[in-house]
């Protein structure tokens, strides 16, 4: 390749030469347009982020009834916008580890019961005040308030006492928890001045963008916060905007038409089609979300482990993955965790579709007649179809499944966690402990498989307090195996997050924790010049 071309491509990246001129000169030098384009994007990457301009995302998951209060944020738009203006104590890195943000350092007592979070100095809120330990404590207090409606209430219930100690916040837990720092990465726990007790909807924190537009269900906008504590590391565009586009077709069209630079939730069905559009890049990342079939372990006929095993073996996971997710996911292994979690052992044997063995177990269970499976459109995208596929694969093992399609309204209050065999979804949690504690210990409100084993509860608590990583990993392996072979959980697959970025978008780094680069897509991407 000629030196001249290389020089020219860097000139483009630095903005000294227009793209059109470059392509013209490249053509004059006898280089194909495709190759010249590759050259350009390489140069753009090497040149580092391009500053300025405006970056727009078109996202699903926003309603006109939404508010800015991070405690009440549940949908994708608020999640992504929260990452633009909000700042957390710690954040999940793409490799599953933790990155310190407002917390400069987090340390614990040897029993993992007392945690000291040293608060970084010199971080400014958007209103000019400096972030103080008292603000951090007030934030945790607000979310842990029994009267609060915070979605983070559950994960803060383990806190016994809190106090400010100099430049640190010291938290004492009721029980040992080695994963406490991971809890602080929960996206609701945005640090606000005085914890947001004065005005939770003010949209003031210490993130890379200041809130300039807040039109719920329509659009959100932010402008670069000049005093952002990480300086140039995040927030390359001068302005960011999120447009709420709940209709998937409109979302795709907006990306194709160039009205937005990135979109979330690309339907698996159209991935292959949208791939062919010039300039569009599909971004997929295996996440922690999964779509379970839940059986109540304490309710007949599912209280019989032979029947549960038969039902697990009668699931044709590959076909399911192919038809429902078009391959954009990984087959599940009847555990609520996968390799996206830290401390996961990936040497556990994968369960496969085996109609003969399933028939054997079914015979052994002594059950006869049909089994009622409840499903609904809202359980997960394609849940009704998934139930129909499962019905067919079960038939091959001689098991008769009867499907009942429930209305979406009231599915979560009347069917899920109330009926003994139903479809559902879990978005995954930051750690294995959180996942198991949320839904698979005897006392959990959301124990949607009625998995009540005192010995399992003990394992969860022991692992939670174990600071030795190797030992902990082994404990989680044992727990996973137990769930896989005895639990009431049937996991056909874990889904991938499928986003798409448009022409010229650079700097995209997938994060298995969540869609849209863990919510940071707008803050970490830039448009090549």
């Amino acid at each position: 390749m000629s030196k001249e071309l290389e020089f020219l491509s860097h000139s483009v990246a630095r903005g000294k030469l227009s793209r059109r001129d470059f392509l013209g000169r490249a053509a004059a030098l006898g280089v194909s347009a495709a190759f010249a384009n590759t050259l350009l994007s390489d140069a753009a990457r090497a040149e580092g982020p391009v500053k300025g301009g405006m970056l727009k995302a078109g996202l699903q998951g926003g309603e006109s009834s939404n508010v800015l209060d991070p405690a009440l944020n549940l949908s994708q738009v608020n999640f992504s916008f929260g990452k633009c203006w909000g700042e957390l104590l710690v954040e999940l890195k793409p490799d599953g580890g933790l990155e310190n943000r407002i917390a400069e350092e987090i340390g614990s007592s040897p029993d993992a019961k007392t945690w000291t979070m040293k608060i970084r100095k010199g971080i400014q809120f958007h209103d000019g005040k400096e972030v103080a330990p008292a603000d951090v404590m007030a934030t945790l207090e607000r979310h842990a308030d029994e009267k609060s409606k915070s979605a983070a209430l559950g994960i803060l219930q383990g806190i016994d006492t809190m106090k400010v100690d100099g430049d640190a916040v010291v938290v004492t837990l009721k029980d040992a928890n080695a994963d406490f720092p991971y809890l602080m990465a929960d996206y609701h726990l945005v640090i606000q001045p005085n914890g947001g007790k004065d005005n939770p909807n003010a949209g003031i924190s210490a993130g890379p963008y200041k809130v300039t537009v807040n039109e719920p269900g329509v659009r959100y906008g932010g402008e670069k916060f000049a005093n952002y504590w990480q300086g140039d590391k995040l927030g390359h565009a001068d302005q960011v905007e999120i447009v709420v586009i709940n209709d998937p077709t409109a979302r795709t069209a907006a990306l194709q038409g160039g009205q937005v630079n990135m979109i979330n939730r690309v339907e698996p069905k159209i991935v292959d089609l949208i791939k062919r559009v010039p300039g569009v890049t599909i971004q997929t990342v295996s996440g922690r979300g999964f779509y379970p079939f839940n059986m109540f372990c304490d309710t007949a006929p599912f209280d019989n482990n032979d029947l549960r095993m038969a039902l697990k073996l009668a699931m044709d996971r590959d076909e399911m993955l192919d038809k429902i997710l078009r391959g954009y996911g990984e087959v599940g292994n009847d555990m609520p965790v996968n390799k996206a979690y830290p401390l996961f052992s990936d040497d556990i044997e994968q369960r496969k579709f085996d109609p003969e063995k399933a028939a054997e177990f079914y015979k052994k269970s002594g059950h006869s007649g049909s089994i009622l499976l409840r499903t609904s459109d809202v359980a997960f995208p394609g849940a009704v179809d998934a139930a129909q596929l499962y019905q067919q694969s079960c038939a091959k093992a001689g098991i008769k499944i009867e499907i009942k399609r429930e209305p979406g309204d009231g599915y979560w209050s009347e069917v899920w966690n109330k009926q003994p065999f139903s479809l559902s979804y879990w978005g995954g949690r930051a750690t294995q402990d959180q996942m198991y504690s949320t839904a698979y210990i005897s006392s959990a409100d959301w124990n949607d498989t009625r998995w009540k084993r005192p010995e399992f509860d003990k394992m969860v608590i022991a692992a939670r307090g174990e600071l030795d990583e190797a030992k902990r990993k082994k404990m989680y392996r044992d727990m996973g195996l137990m769930m896989r072979d005895e639990g009431g959980l049937l996991v056909p697959f874990f889904n991938q997050y499928i986003d798409a970025s448009g022409k010229g978008v650079q700097g995209w780094v997938n994060n298995p924790a969540q869609e849209m680069c863990g919510g940071y897509a707008l803050a970490m991407c830039w448009l090549e010049a």
Partner: protein, 276 residues
């Protein structure tokens, strides 16, 4: 009374196509090459000899789905229209013939119902009631009957003051006689013309409801619902989304052609795409 040779070409086309749709609807299970919910291939396969119209968003045979869809679409639209006409026309005629407080009461109540937008009304009601075919038909039929009521009352008021009705009243005929023997036969032609238009609006209304997720329950689906199922493919030009929409249009046009032909034989000005 019909001279076959004098039926214009447009009306012929309409009659033939409407007939074809009806045959599909009635004999769906015998005509369709595959089952309604049966998965026979990959997602969105192009048209081929095996699947004449290709496959849909789940790999089901589109032709078969279209044929079953005709059955559901037409069934619901016909029943809803029948309901709205019997309800609206009988109430309208009675109001015109009886007059007085009954007329005022019913008319004002209809005004009341009409002042709330049809789609919004349907949206609220259907998001609350269990969605099944019966509720759909009832909601659509009752909402639409307000428009039919207005038309039939207006027509009947004119007829009611005609000499032959006066004569019948003087003869001492009962209300039932007046309505069914005097008014109905004379109001029939505008009503028949209106019927075609109303039927089409029922089909379109059903498809709008399906589009908003409140229509027919899968695996059954009306054509509007099928467009919705496959709508992700529209911006890529996938035929599975275009064919059901085209079918709605063809059905609408063919019924309209028939209605127009009837309309041309009478003169009528009422009706509309709901009040919105």
């Amino acid at each position: 009374m019909l001279d076959l040779k004098r039926i214009p070409l447009g009306a012929w086309l309409g009659l033939v196509l409407t007939g074809l749709f009806l045959i599909c609807a009635i004999f769906a299970p015998w005509i369709a090459p595959h089952g309604n919910g049966e998965i026979v291939g990959d997602v969105w396969e192009p048209m081929s000899a095996a699947h004449l119209l290709g496959t849909d968003n789940l790999g089901r045979d589109l032709l078969s789905r279209m044929i079953y869809g005709a059955r559901i679409t037409i069934l619901i639209a016909v029943l809803a229209t029948a309901l709205s006409f019997s309800l609206g026309a009988i109430l309208g005629f009675t109001a015109a013939a009886v007059g007085g407080w009954f007329d005022t009461l019913v008319s004002r109540f209809v005004d009341l119902l009409m002042s709330i937008p049809t789609l919004i009304f349907g949206l609220v009601v259907l998001s609350v009631l269990p969605t099944n075919t019966l509720t759909l038909i009832l909601v659509m039929g009752i909402l639409d009957s307000t428009r039919v009521y207005r038309l039939s009352r207006a027509v009947a008021v004119d007829i009611n003051v005609m000499d032959f009705v006066e004569a019948a009243k003087l003869r001492g005929e009962g209300m039932r006689w007046i309505i069914f023997r005097e008014i109905l036969p004379n109001a029939l032609s505008p009503l028949v013309a209106e019927l075609g238009v109303r039927f089409i609006f029922a089909v379109l209304f059903l498809s709008a409801l399906s589009f908003l997720g409140l229509g027919v329950q899968p695996p059954d689906s009306d054509w509007g619902g099928m467009v919705k199922e496959n709508k992700d493919g529209i911006v890529f030009g996938i035929p599975a989304a275009l064919i059901p929409a085209a079918a709605i249009a063809v059905l609408a046009i063919s019924v309209n052609l028939v209605a127009d032909w009837v309309l041309n034989r009478t003169t009528d000005l009422k009706g509309g795409r709901g009040n919105g």
